[in-house]
């Protein structure tokens, strides 16, 4: 009958060859990347792969993800049917599922029939969504509709094929059509329904047409897969396995010796995993829909960054393999395949893109690598950063204030110097807490709270230096390296083991970044410490404060998304006010950045809407009297934003100030 192995086999071989060639052409480019270790902790990796790839954990985080979940699992189930189809095409009438034991065949056939129906429904819904409510306007690509169309064709052909098989069997066996179809409907509901509708005399023609339609769709699909965004079905699963187990907000160190290269200026300077990421992107657009820069009209689009890396690799791959110079610049205004400097500087490093990505692509470290190239090799950066870099290197604080003024915040307090024998905690005040007039109040509140709780603490006084967070996120790794080494040496020399920080940027840098320098500190954010002190009964609140009115809490990116601290600051506010703070629409791991991270604190924001104003409006929707923060940068951004929207009747308070209000007023 229809499957003709002498026609099908060569077509299949050709398709597989094209598929293999397509895969090789692309995936071999990954070997151009720099080495990076991604095979440690296999157990965790397998677990994450099961959770994120097979369990579709991130995909399901958005309502529409369920549709993809259906397509993914139908696809896996239908692999069985397609394997049968191909084998049957090569060896007709020899390998058929129907020859399996009846008890095995029935559930399998049922599953395949239902999976096909679900897949057909899901791709229809997906196509309609893309037409009427696309995830982002540019998502209506021919590529996307072609893939959905191919899947739909496969499903329709497969139903017709099964239906014609059933009908043919029914007529040849002379069974009673009514009872036969009734039984068949219990095994293959959709195919059986269709079988009853097929004209008996054209069954062979229909079968042949369906078989070849299925065959051609399947083979086309195989050929097309490696050159489309559908490549992700091959790369997503390994990509989830290979993701960075540590939070990728801590960028890798660079080695500063003569002759080394710094940052990424051409695509082959990325690690192989970065390049794999670029082939894994499904262009779902979830990253751009949460990116504060994209949302407020900046040129940065994290999806486009990943896409441009891929295009750049494809365009320059051949030249790079030969060791020749790349033709398309990775950084520049050359259009597709190049990332513009303006977009590189727009990133707040808030990590929302990485939190949203269903296949665990690491966008932010790639942007930092581009910044490193611009700062360290090209010396091309927004001019306002020149002062920052010099202030940080020369005076170890962003404002360039004389280091001798670092202790002015506590001139009216009795603050002990940290001493390894007599003090337990180092209170690492941070630059904002030491120099910024608004944030000094937070430092004073913290000092009072620590004393009240009977904590043994001290500071480094004038010996405290900036942690270097901003310069690292801005790509000035050379200066960060100097600052980190100096600080690590001080901490070791002074015997610091436990550190309290009131700034999430100091927090993450001391806790995560300095680990790369061999320093393991027990770093606690002040919100965590205050929560613990209340829980342990060391801070006893006999009354709550009403001064704050309705509070709303804003998550700092470097406390929340980058370090998973969400509950502690909320618990502190609740303890102090008696009521849990109101939540903004985007909160916890979905929180929207204040706009100051990644060194953006020190840069002008000329394009689009201001990020802090967007967040301030969101906070004001909750009609708060007080916006609570746990980060000095967020404090500044909110205070500025509230002034700009003329809502300075709303207060901004750090969680420590809220607690101090309840305890001391």
């Amino acid at each position: 009958m229809t499957p003709n192995p002498f026609i099908f086999a060569p077509l299949l071989l050709a398709s597989l060859a094209i598929f293999a060639w397509g895969c090789w052409k692309r995936l071999s480019l990954i070997s151009l990347g720099q080495p990076e270790e991604r095979f440690d902790n296999i157990g965790t990796r397998v677990g994450d792969m099961l959770r994120y790839a097979f369990g579709q954990k991130r995909v399901l985080a958005k309502p529409f993800g369920f549709n993809h979940f259906i397509i993914f699992w139908s696809f896996l189930i239908l692999m069985i049917a397609n394997t049968e189809f191909i084998l049957n095409g090569l060896f007709p009438h020899t390998i058929k599922l129907v020859r399996l034991p009846f008890e095995l065949y029935v559930p399998l056939a049922f599953m395949i029939d239902i999976a096909s129906l679900l897949a057909l429904t899901a791709v229809t819904v997906a196509a309609l969504r893309r037409v009427f409510a696309p995830p982002y306007p540019e998502a209506r690509t021919l590529d996307a509709f072609f893939i959905l169309g191919m899947i739909a064709t496969l499903m329709l052909a497969s139903f017709t094929l099964n239906a014609s098989d059933l009908a043919a069997y029914m007529f040849h066996s002379g069974a009673d059509p009514v009872s036969f179809l009734a039984t068949a409907r219990k095994i293959m509901p959709v195919s059986a329904l269709l079988a009853g509708q097929l004209p008996p005399l054209q069954l062979e023609t229909i079968h042949a047409a369906a078989w070849w339609a299925h065959a051609i769709a399947l083979l086309t699909f195989i050929c097309y897969l490696p050159i489309s965004k559908h490549m992700h079905i091959l790369t997503a699963i390994p990509n989830c396995f290979l993701h960075r187990l540590e939070k990728p907000n801590t960028q890798p160190r660079e080695v500063f010796t003569v002759g080394n290269r710094f940052g990424v200026g051409s695509v082959d300077r990325y690690s192989w995993k970065d390049l794999l990421d670029s082939f894994t992107c499904t262009e779902c657009g979830r990253c751009q829909n949460v990116c504060p820069a994209s949302i407020t009209g900046k040129p940065l689009n994290p999806r486009a960054v990943i896409h441009d890396i891929k295009v750049n690799l494809l365009e320059n791959g051949a030249a790079l393999k030969k060791g020749a110079a790349p033709q398309t610049p990775l950084i520049g205004e050359a259009g597709e395949g190049s990332v513009s400097a303006e977009s590189i500087w727009a990133c707040t490093t808030c990590g929302a893109c990485m939190e949203a990505c269903p296949v665990l692509i690491e966008h932010m470290p790639k942007i930092i690598q581009l910044r490193r190239h611009l700062v360290e090799t090209e010396v091309e950066f927004p001019e306002e950063l020149l002062n920052l870099f010099e202030n940080m290197e020369g005076r170890s604080n962003p404002w360039g204030i004389a280091p001798s003024e670092r202790t002015k915040w506590c001139s009216q307090l009795d603050v002990k110097p940290f001493d390894r024998d007599t003090t337990e905690y180092l209170f690492y005040v941070g630059c904002a807490g030491s120099f910024d007039s608004r944030n000094k109040h937070v430092s004073v509140a913290m000092a009072q709270l620590l004393d009240k709780a009977g904590i043994s603490w001290g500071t480094l006084g004038k010996d405290e230096k900036c942690c270097g967070d901003s310069v690292r996120r801005l790509g000035n790794e050379y200066v960060f390296d100097k600052m980190a080494k100096e600080n690590v040496a001080t901490f070791i020399e002074r015997g610091v083991k436990k550190v309290i920080t009131q700034c999430p940027h100091c927090f993450t840098t001391l806790k995560n970044d300095y680990r790369q320098y061999g320093l393991e500190l027990e770093v606690i954010h002040h919100s965590q410490l205050l929560r613990n002190l209340v829980q342990d009964g060391r801070l006893v609140l006999d009354k709550t404060t009403e001064e704050m009115g309705v509070t709303v809490f804003h998550d700092s990116c470097y406390l929340g998304r980058h370090n998973d601290v969400y509950d502690a600051p909320r618990a502190v506010i609740e303890a102090a006010t008696g009521v849990a703070p109101a939540e903004m629409e985007r909160n916890r791991n979905n929180a929207f950045c204040c706009g100051a991270g990644g060194g953006r604190m020190w840069m002008e924001e000329h394009v689009g809407e201001r990020i802090n104003l967007t967040r301030v409006s969101e906070a004001l929707e909750q009609k708060p009297d007080t916006i609570c923060v746990a980060c000095p940068y967020c404090m500044t951004m909110f205070e500025d934003g509230l002034k700009d929207v003329k809502a300075d009747n709303v207060k901004v308070r750090d969680v420590a100030e809220v607690m101090a209000e309840a305890l001391f007023r």
Partner: protein, 271 residues
């Protein structure tokens, strides 16, 4: 053509305090920086290097640790860095200093290349005399163009330079034949930031040190012995509290306008 830039390592004066008993600068723990005006002189030399391909030599007189300042110049792109360091150079006033610097420039002229320009900052932030640059010009018999905020025209073949000088409330365009000595103000340019590669190379580079064996100067004309000036007392003048102008709360725009007028009158706003 060689351009010589004179730079000085100075204490970060915003962090310096004066010992009330001894009337001297408390320098303990105060970081050294490159005299800010000198960074603009160096930047201009490097821009001329980029434009004309001339050679840039940075020279500094100071103690051995002033090497760090010269390494910064190398990291930014200077071709030569020479430290003029000798105990007999110590304690020098502006006259003795200019004698040493002029001798070094003469030696560079003889051994490296013809000197076209000598660039200095308008003054240093520690001494604030603004005398060393002109002193060098006098010793070398170069034309001196002080307070330069723009090089309008430079022609090395015709050996002519035309610059804009920033004077109080006005600018002056002047022309001079080369070689010339320029002292520069901050408005001249924006100093560049070093490339990491260059910093690493500069860190490993050896800064040439010239002492008085190299320069062979009469010891009566250098160092403490060659300095007719001496410091009898350093003190911070008492600050007199200024007047309060306008009402910043009730009329911020009016107060700002008053402030601008005041600053303009005192020539404190660059135009």
């Amino acid at each position: 053509m060689l351009i010589v830039v004179c730079i000085k390592q100075v204490p970060d004066t915003t962090q310096v305090q004066i010992d009330p008993v001894t009337n001297t600068l408390v320098r303990d723990g105060i970081p050294f920086i490159v005299n800010p005006y000198d960074t603009h002189a160096l930047e201009e030399a490097l821009r001329l290097k980029d434009r004309f391909g001339c050679t840039v030599a940075a020279i500094s007189m100071g103690p051995p640790n002033a090497e760090a300042t010269l390494k910064k110049a190398l990291a930014l792109g200077a071709d030569h860095a020479i430290l003029l360091s000798d105990r007999v150079f110590g304690g020098a006033d502006t006259l003795a200093t200019s004698n040493v610097l002029a001798a070094a420039i003469r030696k560079l002229h003889a051994e490296v290349d013809e000197v076209g320009l000598v660039l200095c900052g308008k003054q240093t932030i520690d001494g604030d005399t603004a005398q060393v640059g002109p002193g060098i010009a006098s010793r070398l018999d170069y034309r001196q163009l002080t307070l330069v905020d723009k090089i309008v025209d430079l022609d090395f073949t015709a050996k002519k330079i035309r610059v804009s000088r920033k004077l109080e409330g006005r600018h002056e365009i002047v022309e001079a034949p080369l070689p010339a000595m320029l002292t520069v103000v901050r408005e001249l340019n924006r100093p560049r930031y070093p490339k990491v590669q260059m910093r690493l190379a500069a860190a490993e580079a050896v800064v040439e040190v010239w002492n008085n064996k190299t320069l062979q100067l009469d010891e009566q004309k250098i160092g403490l012995k060659g300095s007719p000036t001496w410091v009898s007392k350093i003190f911070s003048p008492d600050r007199i509290k200024g007047e309060i102008l306008g009402d910043g709360y009730a009329d911020p725009a009016g107060a700002a306008a008053l402030l601008i007028d005041k600053l303009m009158a005192k020539d404190m706003l660059p135009l």
